[in-house]
């Protein structure tokens, strides 16, 4: 007892010491890829959380690595992670920020953010799929001149205070580490010959680095990042210039320029190439794009070797494959026997009896088998629900009635002993969501995440998102599918049971209220709305 009290006291002391010292932060530049703009920030936040959890599990030696669960980190309501995420254009003079609408097509690929260490930044860059790279900015401005001036101010070691603020990487550079420099332009293409000229503009800075230039294996890589407003006719001009016709190529309309040191690059390209759908043995009409499936695993906070996840509408198992490749143990279930056994879509006959369709995909990639593949109907759930939950995450793409029908087993029509066929009846989209969320509330562990796609029309409003007292809405990033159809990657987090119990007023209140899903919303009746088939209307279906 005494020892426990002492330990507690010690912990309290340590915590207060940490609170008094301002946490060391490193301001980094994030460069996102041009794809899935609606999911960038959601994925990035999740990956930071994941990496922090991994670092915390390694041990408390690392500076400031307390567990990052949303409940424990106090902070601004919108930013419990203290990331200080801002678009880079916010720090520019107003004239450079906005032009005509449409200019900023690629403009928000640059973000500033505060991370805890260079190692954390590197791990985040490796894990996130929508992040291209993470840099430390040396100079930033709305022209080459101002960026160079800013960089010169950074490297000038006149004041000792300046030198103390340098990161370890910058200190190495100033002490003679080898480096190389490249140019990356966004919004226009820069020819190799032009690059040397652009590098020369940063000569005042580069001369400050005493190290040698090493193209093959540099210790540090510097990058000139140029963000230009697209110029009409620019490509034709540069083509003519290439043919030897010296026209006056219009000077690029530059929004911002960075000179930056590379911290980490994404590894995602390799994975998404390896798991590309066209090369996969067994796919169906609703297989999830490999890259999106990896992003789903990331926002679900899948931890390698730790997480147990379930996809209750697994289909051809495309989400499971990415989850297993991310290191999870996973279980898949579907109502349709065809998808599980691997015939009906691209294979006319059942394949050999040794491996079913889904499993052959795991074999193709040399992945560990999933923990289980089942045929079952989530409406008649066949999972027991222990009081603390048993799943770390549920990642799924529920059917919405266009390529796959929403259905359940009709127990009344299926005569147990006589009927050979399983009779189905259709369900409304809202019913499926309700079932899914109720199931998730029962089976997710505290802080476990439910991640699913919500297909909807363009008139989606956040108010119609499903709600449940046991869940916190984390994000609902958008992906546009067609002009009329979108989908949202809804991420909900199971609130800790103990907290819910503490907050509830009385013993009657402890039972969580059911899922609140509006019956008619932008996600209902999609087959009727999108395919214009009014006879497939959901309104006459009974729950």
């Amino acid at each position: 007892m005494h020892g426990l009290r002492q330990r507690r006291r010690r912990r309290r002391v340590r915590r207060s010491a940490r609170a008094s010292v301002p946490a060391r932060v490193m301001r980094v530049l994030l460069v996102f890829r041009g794809v899935f703009p609606g999911l960038r920030i959601d994925e990035f936040r999740a990956v930071v959380q994941l990496v922090r959890a991994e670092l915390a599990a390694e041990g408390p030696t690392e500076l400031g690595t307390e567990a990052p669960s949303a409940g424990t980190v106090a902070g601004h309501k919108d930013d419990p992670l203290h990331l200080g995420l801002t678009t880079s254009v916010q720090s520019l003079p107003p004239s450079a920020q906005f032009r005509t609408p449409g200019d900023s097509l690629h403009g928000d690929v640059f973000y500033f953010c505060e991370l805890r260490s260079e190692r954390e930044a590197r791990l985040v860059a490796q894990r996130a799929f929508l992040l291209k790279a993470v840099y430390e900015v040396i100079g930033h401005g709305n022209s080459y001149e101002s960026a160079c001036d800013a960089a010169v101010r950074t490297v000038s070691s006149d004041s000792a205070r300046q030198a103390a603020s340098w990161s370890d990487g910058m200190q190495e550079l100033m002490k003679g580490a080898s480096f190389r420099i490249d140019v990356q332009a966004f919004g226009r293409s820069v020819k190799q010959e032009q690059k040397a000229g652009l590098m020369a503009r940063f000569a005042p800075v580069l001369l400050q680095f005493p190290g040698k230039v090493n193209l093959k294996s540099p210790q540090h890589r510097l990058m000139i990042l140029e963000d230009a407003f697209p110029v009409a006719g620019h490509q034709q001009h540069s083509q003519l210039a290439l043919n030897g016709e010296h026209l006056s190529v219009p000077e690029p309309d530059i929004r911002q320029v960075f000179l930056a040191r590379l911290i980490g690059e994404t590894q995602g390209g390799i994975l998404s190439k390896k798991f590309r759908l066209p090369d996969r043995q067994y796919v169906g009409t609703t297989s999830m794009d490999a890259e999106l499936a990896f992003i789903m695993a990331n926002v679900a906070l899948v931890r390698p070797g730790r997480s147990l996840i379930l996809d209750p509408f697994c289909g051809t198992g495309s989400i499971l494959i990415s989850a297993v490749a991310s290191g999870a143990h996973c279980i898949g279930a579907d109502i349709d026997p065809r998808v599980l056994r691997g015939y009906g879509y691209n294979q006319p006959e059942p394949q050999s009896h040794t491996s079913s369709g889904i499993l052959s995909n795991f074999e193709q990639y040399g992945l560990e088998r999933p923990a289980g593949i089942l045929r079952g109907d989530l409406v008649h759930s066949y999972w027991q629900s222990p009081c603390g939950g048993w799943l770390d995450a549920i990642i799924t793409d529920p059917p919405y009635g266009i390529r796959e029908s929403i259905r359940t087993v009709d127990v009344e029509k299926t005569n147990d002993l006589q009927c050979k066929h399983v009779q189905h009846r259709r369900l409304r989209a809202s019913d499926t969501l309700r079932v899914l969320i109720e199931f998730a509330a029962d089976s997710l562990v505290d802080n476990g995440r439910l991640v699913f796609w919500l297909a909807c029309t363009a008139d989606f409003v956040p108010e119609e998102l499903p709600q449940h007292t046991a869940f916190r809405m984390v994000s609902y990033g958008e992906q546009q599918l067609t002009m009329r159809m979108h989908r949202r990657l809804v991420v909900m987090e199971r609130l800790p049971r103990a907290r819910l119990r503490a907050e509830s007023s009385g013993p009657q209140d402890t039972r969580v209220q059911g899922a609140q899903v509006p019956d008619s919303g932008s996600f209902s009746n999609l087959s009727a709305k999108i395919l214009r088939q009014p006879w497939r209307c959901e309104t006459r279906l009974v729950p």
Partner: protein, 133 residues
């Protein structure tokens, strides 16, 4: 299906638990020993049904209560890993307390709510069949 999954399953309509496993064919596929994962999921596992299943599959006897300390009883932890993760049920039957049977065929249990001794339906209902009209 690994025995880990079996521990979480119950009958679809009545929610009866546990389902007794009658294995017909069991496959052992060794995987890298990962004590972290076993420790992570052990609190979610119902111990008595797991013990009974391990005995039914001839995998050895687990102690009457789950191990607490990850640093002692390494044999028990390894046995748990073998039972939960390395044992795959290929063919067999799951029997609910009320006697309903659910077949496991080709590693895939059929957990649809029907109590007949069910084979896979020969005619697979097409999406259009379900779409009525």
């Amino acid at each position: 299906m690994r025995l880990l999954t079996h521990n979480f399953m119950c009958s679809p309509r009545t929610k009866a638990y546990p389902l007794r496993l009658v294995p017909a064919e069991i496959e052992m596929i060794e995987s890298a020993y990962n004590p972290g994962f076993v420790q992570h999921v052990l609190p979610r596992i119902e111990w008595e049904p797991l013990r009974a299943t391990a005995l039914a599959c001839g995998l050895g006897e687990l102690p009457p209560s789950p191990p607490q300390d990850p640093n002692v009883d390494e044999d028990v932890w390894r046995l748990l890993h073998r039972i939960l993760l390395d044992t795959h049920v290929k063919e067999g039957i799951l029997v609910s307390p009320s006697g309903a049977e659910y077949t496991i065929h080709n590693s895939i249990p059929n957990m649809l709510p029907k109590t007949a001794a069910d084979a896979e339906p020969k005619h697979v209902p097409q999406a259009t069949d379900i779409m009525d009209e």
